[in-house]
Symmetry: none
Subunit: 213 residues, 4 copies
DNA sequence: GACTAATCGAGACGGTACGTCTGGTCTTCCG
DNA sequence: CGGAAGACCAGACGTACCGTCTCGATTAGTC
């Protein structure tokens, strides 16, 4: 992430590390209280005890700031070891749903995605700091399942394996988001159990009969 | 006794029917050019050749207007008869992906969902005029598959059947949206085939071993 | 001043006449309290109970607004009839000095002149609404003095007469401004008497020996 | 054991003498290009190749810096010896008018005067470094005219003499400033001749009939 | 054929936030 | 310790929209 000036220190006063932390925290607090559309950078600055210019010096605008503020939320996700692949998946999906239940994530995430439909750089930022970053969970789950003997050791084609990871991620993340944000119903244990069952059975079946009939 | 549209016409000049049409079309045009966040009602009014007050007299605000403008897009979805359940699903998913590829839908839909996280009335509006409205496709697909003998005639429990419809909708819509808008990759034929395979295998497997272990 | 649409009423809501009055009064009040350099249009708007946009819709900026606000002050100048030309002049010069003693005039007028050195349109505005507007006093004084027989009925050359009016105005206005604002000493009765004496003697002498020997 | 106060060697880097010169020159250059209101200390610092802090260490603010930068311009004024009092006055007035024609003087001087209406210290600074400093010209002119026999050797009352000097200065400076900056017309030879004639005739007449009628 | 009542276009209104710019101050490192 | 560099807080700038309002002008149906 940091590859600006590796050796030589830049002249002038260095940027305050505390400011960045305060700004991101204030952004999340403002998301909770106001939601994305009523969040203003002036308000964030006031909450963080910081001047507006300090924010604009570090982030191009509201969208990028919100993405960074929300991205930190997802770093607390981790794959629990519940003994079986199905249980592990259920666990992480429940965690994911819990994060999406927090208002700072709900409001910020969808708005950022909406904005990213017209801003390639923003889409990249979302992908880098949220999506790709969390694919580690899928990989970790696969490795653990292979160790348990629940999955075959390796996919035949490495490219095919990557495609499967992507598909899993799209289905899991998409379904949970749609359930909670669009359908507006809770992704509770019962729903997660049903969803995980369908997902696993589908994946196993697809692995058994690769591609076409 | 009807309170909505009384038989007797209200006094005064009636609302122009042409205005509503022009406003919705102008809204979509503005979405294409500007995206949700830069769309302004003043601009929409100018495009539609209409005064701002004419818009505010009919819609509470930007969000509701955009939802109505986008909702019309999804009405053109229909379930093609391609001979098999899998092929039918693939067909409708591809149509859905095609709509999400249109900029007026991408930008408007996600933004509306984002706003709805803090506006219960807006969520209702989205659910009524978009989500529930399109569940007809799932029902229609099930009926047709039952007629073909691809699915058992009826689920044991009517409540359980509704739950399955919801799950299917969340998974399908969520996965396609996530694929196209978040992952930013095309939901092309190859991907749709893989996705449909997993979905169908999962549903069949789940139907075979209902719920418990 | 007003030559836009003499006959036809423009469409739309007409501009509030009360707003303009309130804005100019608020501008003078702000000049008194803050002076030109610390006067902000936001503050003026707040004092006038008006939105910033309402100010910007009518005036291009701070400079023009201040000129208009100050110009109104000079409209209260009038030539008193004190029986002799010298006494009349002393009277109006004292009035002029009294206005320049008011803080809203001191601060605003000089700043506007300073700005006008880089803004031709502003200089024009000052000239039209302040300088030329008050030359009436010089003309009025001349007419009255001619009626009294203190001055010959008419200058030989009309162009020469205009030049004399300009000279008188430059000398009178310049001397009073310099005395009060630069030298920072009061233009009191004693000073005015001395100044008027020099001015009148000079003018009479120059009239007697036109141009040079 | 570390010594904080070395006795022999004076610690610290001495203040750069070149900096002050560069800053004042840069200030005048910025006045020419931007005028007072758009001149910023950051810009001056950049032009002078100096840090902002270096300016603030030497001047309290923009106003004082500009006054010092402009004051230097007036030091080049000198009373030419053209043979007669009238000609001498015409000469120095033309010089004064020439300086006021330079943009760095026009813009800076009037703005400083405007600011000084609300800042006693600034008014003092202007009076000391510009006004009083140039009264030498009036005194010098009087001495020379007395030597030539054009003026009586000494005024009856020393206080009265000082009053006359002040009056002359107010009238001369005021008229030229008003002519060039407010009326916006050139103080050319013709105008200066007419003005000088009125001034001298007025002064001589006033000297002949002191004060009362 | 006037009257009534709601519509229409236009555009001014009071607000609020924008993203930028400047003013002064402070913190860092270099000479 | 002076000076260059530049980040910092504070706050005004002029613009853009918001949603409301006030106009005069239509455009029906009702008397």
């Amino acid at each position: 992430m940091q590859s600006r000036t590796p050796a030589t220190t830049r002249p002038g006063r260095p940027r305050s590390a505390a400011a960045a932390t305060a700004i991101l925290a204030a952004t999340r607090a403002a998301l909770v209280e106001l939601g994305w559309s009523k969040l203003t950078l002036g308000d964030v600055a006031a909450r963080a005890g910081v001047a507006k210019t300090t924010i604009y010096r570090r982030w191009p605008g509201k969208n990028e700031l919100v993405v960074d503020a929300v991205a930190e939320l997802f770093d607390e996700l981790e794959l629990p070891d519940r003994g079986s692949l199905a249980a592990d998946i259920e666990g992480v999906v429940l965690q994911f749903a819990a994060i999406l239940d927090r208002p700072e994530a709900r409001s910020g995430l969808m708005a950022a995605v909406a904005e990213s439909t017209r801003d390639e750089a923003l889409r990249e930022r979302i992908r880098d700091s949220i999506v790709e970053r969390q694919k580690r969970l899928v990989l970790q789950g696969r490795t653990r399942a292979q160790a348990r003997g629940e999955l075959p050791p390796e996919s035949s084609d490495p490219e095919d394996a990557a495609r499967t990871v992507d598909l899993i991620f799209d289905v899991v993340a998409g379904a949970v988001v749609h359930r909670t944000l669009v359908s507006g119903r809770p992704a509770d244990e019962e729903w997660v159990r049903g969803f995980t069952q369908v997902l696993l059975l589908g994946l196993r079946g697809a692995a058994a009969s690769p591609d076409g009939p």
